[in-house]
Each structure stands twice: as C-alpha cells, then as structure tokens.
Amino acid sequence: MTQYEAVIGLEIHAELMTRSKMFCGCRVVDSVEAPPNTAVCPVCLGMPGMLPVINRQAVEYAMRVALALNCTIQHHNIFARKNYFYPDLPKAYQISQYELPLGVNGWLDIELDSGETKRIGIRRVHMEEDTGKLTHLEDGGSLVDYNRSGVPLLEIVSEPDIRSGEEARAYAMKVRQILRYLGVNSGDMEKGVFRVEPNISVRPAGSQILGTRTELKNLNSFRSLAEGTAYEIARQIAVLRDGGQVVQETRGWHEGRRETFTQRVKEEAEDYRYFPEPDLPPLEIDNAWIERVRAELPELPDAKIARYRAEYGLTEYDARVLAEERAVAEWFETAVSIGSDPKTIANWIINDLFRLMNEHKQSITEIRISPHNLVELIQLVSNQTINNNTAKEVLAEMFTTGQPAQTIVQSRGLAQISDETTLRNLINQILVNHPEEVIAYRNGKQQLRGWFVGQVMKATRGQANPALVNKLLTQLLNTPSDNTNT
C-alpha cells in the first residue's frame, strides 16, 4: 500500500495590541465584549473621501515579530489593496501587503515530542487590517459590527515544512508564546485575536509533487488544530486510497463532531486584483530603525531556557516551565537577583506557588506574594527558623493574606524548635509515657521509629527541627540508660 506524507503550511493571523487602529484613531476594543459599532469612524467604515494613516506603533510591533521570527526586514514596504466583495469589509478591499511584505525568509525551531528540534521556515510576515464581524441570523440576513474593522493584523505564513497535527500545534504554540513575550498579542484564540489556518495536502512519501490542498478554518484551540489537522490528513489519504481525488476547498472544523466539513469549494484561484494602495505612501524602514527595535527585543524563551540551564543549573524541564510565560520568568529572575539559590527558588515556584495559583485561579501578575516575600520565606528555612513543611503552610497563608513570612511565623508561633535540651526532655517524656513501644522497638520492631517521630511532631505541632529529632531519637532509643537521665 502506498505510504503518504502530509505537507502542511500554517497561516497565522494575529491582532496587534495597539491602543488605536491600524489606519485611524479608533480605539482597539474587545470585539466580543464591546457594544457593537462604538469604535468606528469614517476611515474604518470605508466612507468616501476618508484617508488612512499608518499607526507607527503597529509597524514597530510588526517589526518586533518579524525580527523575533528571524526574518529579514525589507527596507521598502508598499501596502496593497486586496479587492473582494464581502460585507465584513466596508471598503470592498482590505489594505494589506502583497509583493513587498515587511519580513521574509525567517525560521523558528520547534521541539517535537521525541525531544528533537525541527526548524520550520517562515515565508513572510506582513501587515494588514482586520475585518468587521458578521452575525448570521437564523431567519436570514446578517448583522455587521465594524468594531474590529481596521484593527492592526499580522499575517505570518510558514513554509510547508510541517508534517503532522502535532508539529502544527507545536509551531503555533511557539509563535503564540513569542507574540506574548513581545507584548504584542494576548494569544486568546477563543476571542479570535490569534487565529490559525493550516493548508493541508498529502502526497506519496518521498514525492516532490504537492497534492491538492485544503484549507482548514474554525480552529479555536490548539487541541482543535492538532486534531483537525490529523483528521484532515487521514481523510485525504482515505480519499486517495479509494481512488478518488482531493477537492481544493475550504473546510471547517466541527468542534462537537470532531470532524471537518466542506465550507467553500474553490473552483478557481481567487482573483484579488492586488494593486498598490494609492492612499498610503511607501514605508521606508532604514537600518537604524531595525537595529533600535532589535535592541529593544526582550530575551526570548529559547535563550532564557539555555541561560537557566547554563547559569543556574536548572533541569531542562524546570527551565522550560519557568520560561513558558514572560511574567513568570521575570518573577523568577527577580527572586534570583534578590539572592537565594536559583534551584531552590525554582522548586518553590514550580511545586508550591503554581499549585496555589491553580487553586486560587490567579496568574503570577495577580498574586499578593512578591519575589522578595518568597526569598524571605526560603531564608527562614535555610536558617532553620522553620522547617520545610511549616514553610509550605506559611506560603499558603502568605498567598491568602499577603503578609510576609516573618509576620506569620511570629504571630502563629511557628518558629521551629531547635533547642536541643527542650527536645531531649520532650522525647524522654514520650518514651516514659510509652514504655511498651520502647521495648518493642528495642526488641527489633524498627518500623516504630516513624511512629516516635510522629509523636514528637504531634507534641510540637510540627515545629520540631526534624534533623535534630532524628539525631536525638537515635541516641535515646538506642541507649536505655539515657532514658531516665532527665
């Protein structure tokens, strides 16, 4: 049986988080929440005589993305009109870039499940404007809200280097992570500010000829992207094995049925009659501008992961978890800069802080614990004021009250008992009160040792210094004469 391989390219559309729109001063609003048509003006409504003007910040955001995706920034940029008739575009054209996009020839390395790294080429990154939003009514007709019309939009087109749904997901997640690091996009797929559309075809393995492709839409999560792509690959292979032909079309992903369906058959290549946008003079980007934007780029996830491993000795897993989100990475780095062992800080964040954040459904930017607070807590453990278990309780209370560790330890009397005489007396008292267990232990029932530790911890409400308790128990249980020596 012929083996097939999939050839997949991804188109990603990402809105840029500017304050105002791409070509006019209307506010960029949440297009799901904002009342309809409250952020529109003659420019984004396509009124006759309107004149668009480029938002400089949008260009800079786009440059950040192009540079972070290792693209070459083109000096000479021309905007183009993409002509088509659909009511989401009141002008009957979309201002976009065509022959001269902002960024070309980029790449991005993704990590596969196997642990290998794969480089995905990026063909182009260009600037355009988003369209309005249509709501189709059940009894015919549609409502149009133009709040989203003219919102700065970036289109990121990969080379057809992707071979599976999993790779598609890994690539899209990494692009999203970088956009979030750059502070240019929230990555919210459900609200549609980050949209992924794969172009999928299959061909006999090893063949150089591309098969007929389909484009997949309605993917509003990474899971849908991976599943929908895998479904479409399997569907196309089944069609070919049946002796059929794949039809060039746009297919939608049905979230409930988890399958793809025909949305629109493309009988001929669309004819958008692109031509240079006469209303917008060329945009010339010189080297000085490019280098300034490059210098302002934050350290990106891959660089952070490498540094955390080399400089701080973190495991790859820990480094990845901490570098996943820029806000978390910066929180961690602040804690390290205040001064404590990076590995200890990493453990506290990954094991304990994340659990509390999950329980309370708070992000790192919302929590009341500061990096400084965590370092203080760690110091209380390292100077043996409190033990590790107590520290976990204290962290939970810090999380809910926002109080510093020291305050909680003092007000609740949680300081660890490290005074040898106090503990020795206490242990002796326990041994006196439980003569049968002492005899059983001395006759070889070693597992009772843990029970004795438990009794000491119970008597001290968990505050006994565990290392000291162990040392003293060893002494007192193994040397009968000490028993009465109080």
Partner: protein, 96 residues
C-alpha cells in the same frame, strides 16, 4: 492589445457589473484602446527602472498610536438602509 470577450466578462463579474452583450462588446473595444495607449510605454527601455507605485515622492507618513474619538452610534448607522441591535442589517450573503 486585444481583450477577449471572455476577459471583459470576467472583469465585469469581479466588479459585480451586470452588462448586456452590447455593453460587453463596447467595453471590450474601449478597454483594449486604453491598454493600447498604456502600451506605448513599452517603446521605452525600462529594464532598470523600478515600477512606480506612487506619483509623489513622500514616504513614512505615520501617526502616533493615540486614540481619537469615534463616531456617535446614530452617525455610524445614519446611512444604513436597515439596522438592528445597533448593527448594520444586511441581506444574506450567498457564497459563490
């Protein structure tokens, strides 16, 4: 340069113009004449001349990312033939 009737029919369709047979022939002749006129440029040696996209030499006309007032809703919908729920109400769009 002679446009075929097919070319003109396609252009008319892309522009959503419903033309009669007589009009198609008329536009075929007129559009061909326009293209012939522009083709005079081919007599020049243009090999090393980059395509002109704009007739004036300005570039980098940009605005700062500042929010300006938008239109009041009644002005936004003033010209709408139909409206509902503060939105433009349009006829069903039939995809081709």
């Amino acid at each position: 340069m002679n446009l075929t009737l097919e070319d003109v029919t396609k252009i008319a369709h892309l522009a959503r113009l419903a033309l009669t047979e007589a009009e198609l022939i008329q536009y075929q002749q007129q559009l061909s004449a326009v293209l012939d006129y522009a083709a005079m440029l081919n007599e020049l040696d243009l090999d090393n001349i980059p395509p002109t996209t704009h007739a004036i030499s300005r570039h980098n006309v940009m605005r700062e990312d500042r929010v300006e007032p938008s239109l009041p809703l009644e002005d936004v919908l003033f010209n709408a033939p139909q409206q509902a729920d503060n939105q433009f109400l349009i006829q069903s769009v039939l995809e081709e």
